[in-house]
Amino acid sequence: PVVQPGTGNNIIINPNQRLNPVLECIRNVGKEFGDITPDFQVGRTTCILFLSLKYHRLHPEYIHTRIEKLGRSYNLRILLILCDVTEHQELIRELTKVCLINNITVIVAWSTDEAGQYIATFKQFEHKPPDLIKERLDKDYDTLLRTALTSINKVNKTDVETLRTSLGSFADIAKTSSDRLQSLPGFGQVKVRRIKDAFEKPFRNKA
């Protein structure tokens, strides 16, 4: 009963957030006020509770009442924390525990801008497929080579360039001797050992 049928492209905002400076920072999506239990409703089954740590310090009981009121509704429940105090460690620890018990996901933002961006993005990505964060294969050769080689500790992008221009392909690099690697500009003992470890040591031991 609480969940209103999704009215399309607008974020529904609880009127009690009217004075929240975050509202100014929600850009690129439509906003409307409506009668909902959470602070923001950013999708059919997604809601956001907003909490500034400064406020939480003054009224520690507030968030508990809000969570309680929320009950079991909504599939994805977000607690958006605005981290605007320096002594955050204790507060975040306690909130993390509360949220874990109540099936709420915590998101921390450090500025109102960032918080606004989060809220907007939740709405925009409502129906977005996860391709953005899935494994992809469509990268070009240079990028692939660079990410592969820089995954080895101590190897930087200048080194990748050096390796490519003076040795050739990935397979060529794999079979280059340590002596040869060490004669390249910018390659010291440690770097060469790291490279050799990655290329030649077996993946596993026999145990």
Binding site: I92, I133, D142, I152, D179
Partner: protein, 932 residues
């Protein structure tokens, strides 16, 4: 032969050898720390005892093992435990006792799994004591050790007092972590050592060499660039206390650390410009050393690589914020002068400026040209080599120290002759030892010596070598330009390129460009010039010997008498002592200054009475080299003084007895619940436990978890990093991890797996202690894209959203992740310490996890669950196209190493990965292949 101990060595040993005490020894570098450690190990060696050596690098392990062997401690001597050794074998090894060197990560795991009988350890010897901090694995080891074993000894050693100076009371912190109460400090200016070493002084000749004019210009320009970069850095961060950063301190590597420490708390605010500046300083510092040690061509080539990797971004587009120093006049001087040291272009080519690169690109035409011109036979190859492009005049400036070295060798030779003519018996061999700063420069020096023309005028003695290098350079240059062009448009690379390789050893013989006639002539001349001296490749990596062998094969048979040998080596820590003791050289040339080596010579001189040693000490005058040497001396002295002062006023920590007894008491109080019949003892027998993935032992969290009282159980997990309860599974990501695993898609797969197997999947985002607790660090990249949005009326454009315009920010990816995995919770932790608190919180009143079940989860298809893993190799493998999180396990089971994968044929790779991914993977690995 092992060198005898000097009396101060004996005094130190006297103080620390007692196996019932634990000590920290800080000794000045170069005074023979390894000798002391080896003697100590020898004393402790017996099958009845179990002595562990911790924190040694692989080189040190090998060298210590060898030295112990020499000292007669052979059966079985020092054994090394690496990840290759199986669990069962390790257990056996520990049981048999003796001296064992263990990698810290393995030792921690073994201690936690009780594979090693902790109570029975006789003692632990910790090297590199300066690196032991609260977060280091060694501190964890000591804690585990002391929990169960209070009678064993712990000896820690350090020869780097400079490390122990940051912070309030650094020495105390280290001693606290090592749980030690005594420290011995022996600087060079210690009374005993001073008296000991100044008995006999070596005969030192200091040679101050001036830089050549172009080198001086470059040197000056680099320093200027550093100054501008530094002042830029200061200007853009006025709020910070950066006043004590000077160009002089920027010569040292520790400078970077200092800057980062200053900037870390605000690192997210500083913007990409400052980050660029900080890394620029490191680059410039590297350039300074390269200027003095690389030959002109290699230096120039490095500069070119630097420029080309600096002007393009990862995607190949022009870069937004280039390094500011590259745009200054001084940088122009660097580039121009560096080029002029190699060659100049005369007018002819100035008319058509691109001629050179064009010519170089076309390798086949080159070969043809070479062949033709080679046969035409020019009278001498001296004036103009046929392969030098038109209009290019090779300058090929040589490093001034080369000449100096040639002269010095000449002098030594005469001296040897003179001594021989006197025919008085003298100890020591006539081998000349030349010491350089790095294997690379030692390779260069020996190459120079082997190809030197002694009768050539000064400054042209290495002409021949430089010409070979120029040839290689021209080839490489063509390749660089080529790659650049097709880097973007993905054209298939030159598969059948031939030509002289840039390989240092066999370039001459492989080069198809060099015609037969020329080769013959070279050989003849070499034979003619073969002078008395031969160079023996002493450095572990000097590859010169092979080419030398080929070049004049017949003169090389048989052993050379020692007076004809010059050994070129790089400084390599305490191993140098061994070399000196073995070779007993009378003549030593220090090609580059080194504080430690001077002391080694002092020790060597004093442990060999009656041996006349002459040392030639070469420094470039008024260069960073000289400055670095002097400043290094001063820094060491200051840090020793500070340490001594701290020791005087130190409050020694008293260690509480943390044995099992006291702990269970605490535990009982915790677990008694008053609900149960007024506190009746009804304990769960288990202590609170966390299952931790083996790979996580690289991070600091397991150590802290243990410190907070949790029982840490190491296991090889397929799903998740930490299992807190039967339902809670945690995947830990540091910020760089988070970014990279979002990019690679790994996080998606991991969340998928966690959601399948656990009720409560958790993503832990862990920030670093003392660093900014904020994500903005990573979202900066979107800023330049967000700006133009202001030009349009904000409300009007309902089109592309902010995040779609730029590359998607880490925040938006996080949003997407939560949308697709509504059950995944996120823990935001500002430091590992905060994480331990949160973990303890989550574990309260929950069931304990079951290790066997946790290991089994998701590991069904993995035949070798529980085996040791080479993390670096697996990481590299994952980055290859065609390899996904799903098949990576399968591949590691099928193929031994990355190199083996590279050697497979296309069909074999397809057989493992499947047709399409196999194709991708094979193409990637063999793109740009060079035909042999």
């Amino acid at each position: 032969m092992a060198a005898p101990l000097l009396s101060f060595h004996k005094e130190i040993l006297e103080k620390i050898h007692d196996p019932s005490t634990s000590d920290l020894l800080i000794l000045a570098r170069g005074l023979g720390l390894r000798r002391i450690i080896c003697t100590l190990l020898k004393i402790y060696d017996s099958p009845q005892s179990l002595v562990l050596l911790v924190n040694a690098t692989p080189e040190e392990e090998a060298a210590i093992g060898e030295e112990l062997g020499i000292m007669g401690c052979r059966k079985p001597g020092l054994r090394v435990v690496g990840y290759e050794l199986g669990k069962r074998e390790r257990q056996d090894l520990y049981k048999k006792g003796g001296l064992i060197s263990v990698t810290s990560r393995i030792l921690v795991v073994d201690m936690l799994q009780s594979d090693i009988p902790i109570e029975l350890i006789t003692g632990i010897i910790v090297l590199h004591g300066e690196r032991v901090t609260a977060l280091a694995l060694e501190a964890f080891i000591v804690r585990l050790y002391r929990e169960r074993n209070t009678s064993g000894f712990l000896k820690a050693f350090s020869d780097q007092p400079e490390y122990i100076t940051s912070g309030l009371s650094p020495l105390k912190n280290i001693m606290k972590e090592l749980q030690l109460r005594t420290v011995h400090i022996y600087p060079r200016f210690h009374e005993e050592i001073k008296a000991n070493l100044e008995n006999r002084r070596a005969d030192v000749i200091e040679l101050y060499q001036h830089l050549t004019e172009p080198m001086e210009a470059i040197h000056h320009a680099i320093v200027q660039c550093m100054t501008t970069t530094l002042s830029e850095l200061k200007r853009s961060n006025t709020s910070l206390d950066l006043d004590d950063l000077t160009v002089e301190s920027a010569y040292f590597r520790s400078f970077d650390v200092v800057v980062r420490r200053q900037l870390d708390p605000v690192w997210h605010k500083v913007g990409p410009k400052t980050k660029q500046l900080v890394s620029d300083l490191a680059t410039l510092r590297r350039l300074l050393t390269y200027l003095l040690t690389y030959d002109a061509l290699a230096f120039h080539a490095y500069l070119e690589t630097l420029v080309s990797s600096n002007t393009t971004t990862t995607t190949g587009a022009a870069r937004q914020n280039q390094s500011p120093w590259m745009l200054t006049d001084a940088a122009n001087i660097i580039f121009q002068t560096a080029k002029r040291r190699c060659y100049t272009l005369s007018k002819k080519s100035a008319d058509r400026p691109s001629a050179v690169t064009d010519l170089v690109d076309d390798e086949d035409a080159w070969d043809a040209l070479d062949a033709v011109e080679g046969r035409v036979k020019q009278p001498t190859a001296s004036s103009q080599k046929p392969w030098v492009p038109d209009g290019m005049d090779p300058v090929l400036e040589e490093l001034p120290k080369w000449d100096l070295l040639a002269d010095v060798l000449q002098e030594i030779e005469e001296e040897i002759l003179r001594q021989e003519s006197l025919s008085a018996y003298s100890r020591g061999s006539n081998i000349v030892l030349v010491m350089t700063s790095s294997p690379r420069s030692s390779a260069l020096v020996s190459e120079f010596l082997s190809e030197m023309e002694a009768d050539a005028p000064k400054g042209r003695r290495g002409r021949k070598m430089m010409e070979t290098k120029l040839r290689r350079y021209l080839y490489w240059k063509g390749k660089l330009a080529n790659q650049k062009r097709d880097g973007k448009n993905q054209a298939l690379p030159q598969l059948d390129r031939r030509g002289p390789q840039a390989s240092s050893s066999n370039a001459l013989d492989n080069s198809t460009g060099l015609s037969e006639a020329l080769k013959k002539k070279d050989k003849e001349r070499q034979a003619r010039n073969a002078n008395r001296r031969r160079v023996r490749g002493g450095a572990p990596s000097s590859s010169v010997t092979t080419s030398q062998l080929d070049a004049d094969f017949d003169t090389q048979y048989g052993l050379l008498p020692p007076q004809q040998t010059v050994v070129v080596r790089a400084y390599s820590d305490d191993t140098d002592d061994q070399i000196l003791a073995e070779m007993q050289p009378k003549f030593i040339v220090m090609f580059e200054p080194s504080l430690e080596f001077v002391r080694r010579i002092e020790v060597y001189r004093n442990s060999n009475p009656g041996l006349g040693v002459r040392v030639y000490f070469m420094v470039y005058q008024l260069s960073c080299e000289e400055h670095k040497y002097l400043a290094g001396l001063r820094r060491e002295k200051e840090s020793f003084e500070r340490l001594i002062k701290e020791r005087g006023s130190m409050l020694l920590p008293i260690f509480e007895d943390k044995r099992l007894g006291s702990k269970t008491g605490e535990h009982i109080i915790k677990t008694i619940s008053s609900r149960l019949a007024g506190g009746r003892k009804e304990l769960s027998a288990q202590t609170s436990q966390v299952i931790v993935d083996m790979r996580e032992f690289r991070s600091t969290l397991p150590s802290l978890l243990h410190a907070s009282g949790l029982l840490v159980i190491p296991a090889t997990l397929t799903v998740g990093d930490y299992i807190l309860t039967p339902d809670i599974c945690v995947e830990r990501k540091s910020i760089p991890d988070l970014i990279s695993s979002f990019n690679s898609g790994r996080l998606y797969t991991q969340c998928e797996l966690m959601s399948v197997h656990y009720k409560q999947p958790i993503l832990l985002i862990e920030f670093e202690e003392n660093k900014s607790f904020s994500l903005e660090t990573v979202s900066e990249s979107t800023k330049p894209y967000a700006k133009p949005a202001g030009k349009y009326p904000p409300k009007k454009s309902s089109g592309p959203s902010e995040s779609e315009r730029g590359p998607p920010s880490i925040q938006s990816k996080l949003v997407l992740l939560t949308l697709h995995f509504p059950r995944v919770r996120i823990i935001w932790s500002s430091s590992p310490y905060a994480t331990t608190d949160i973990f303890n919180d989550l574990k309260a009143n929950n069931f304990e996890p079951d290790p066997t079940r946790a290991i089994a989860i998701g590991a069904e298809e993995d035949p070798e669950a529980g085996a040791g893993v080479n993390a670096a190799a697996e990481e590299l493998l994952r980055c290859l196209p065609g390899i996904t999180a799903k098949n990576v396990k399968y591949v590691t089971g099928k193929v031994g190493s990355v190199r083996q994968l590279c050697e497979l044929s296309r069909e074999e790779v397809q057989g493992i990965l499947g047709v399409e991914p196999g194709n991708l993977c094979w193409d990637f690995m063999h793109r740009g292949e060079r035909k042999q």
